[in-house]
Assembly symmetry: C2
Homo-oligomer: 149 residues x 2
């Protein structure tokens, strides 16, 4: 890439760091961004900054949200005693699309994978344990329980 | 995507507008950007802004550059009388990688495609005609010529 300006090389590098984007695709995407009207390209950059600055994990279920708690945890219509444990935020989307599930979620942000050195402390498992314990205490000394589906 | 915050939806939309990126890939890329450290995500956004603001077409060959003229046109070592006409800036890269070509380029930023209503005025053809005419005048009333390869 030494025949292209540094700013273009940097943009190609950034695209090439994305998962599933090889060198040629990165080049193609960088050229595409340069061919966009300035307003459109700046919108793209702003979307990255906005998403990164405003989105964090829900304090209850660890799903992505721009509020303190996500819309699902905050909804009075959802059955808070049934927690569906999923690996990634995108799994929540899959369940929600089915329109069949009315409980809440817990997002682990990963799965246990000893071969890849990913243990219980590398995913949001502790938050899940604490949450279930809190629900159990609330329901009175194991008198009730949070169903884990 | 109504179960995710607006800022995330916007980011997915922006990725989905890129060529060759479908809905699922866009979602995957957006989640990846959110999982990056803030510094890395902001670097990505800055690379888009920098590239868009600083890169434009070389005033001679229409290749992408951050200078008034690109490094190839500005190089005294290149044979300015031989112009290789290419469709896209990435084609310049392919030729340069061969390390065999020592002339200069003209980038059309497209190809004629009557079925897609892309005519001579939609690509950088006029710039090429003017450039060749200027070289011919310089070489003295068609006494010399710019070879078009």
């Amino acid at each position: 890439m030494e025949y292209f300006p540094a700013a273009l090389e940097k943009l190609v590098e950034q695209f090439a760091r994305l998962p599933g984007i090889g060198g040629k695709s990165a080049q193609r995407l960088a050229f595409h961004v340069l061919s966009l009207p300035e307003e459109e390209a700046l919108k793209f950059a702003a979307a990255i900054v906005d998403a990164k600055k405003n989105i964090h994990c829900c304090s209850i279920c660890q799903n992505l949200t721009d509020q303190e708690t996500c819309t699902i945890c905050a909804s009075p219509k959802r059955d808070q005693s049934t927690i569906c444990v999923v690996a990634q935020p995108r799994d929540v989307l899959s369940f929600e699309r089915s329109r069949e599930y009315n409980g809440v979620y817990h997002v682990l942000h990963g799965v246990l994978s000893p071969l890849n050195h990913i243990g219980p402390d590398d995913i949001r498992l502790q938050e899940q344990v604490k949450r279930v314990a809190a629900v159990q205490r609330y329901n009175g000394d194991y008198g009730g329980r949070a169903d884990l589906k």
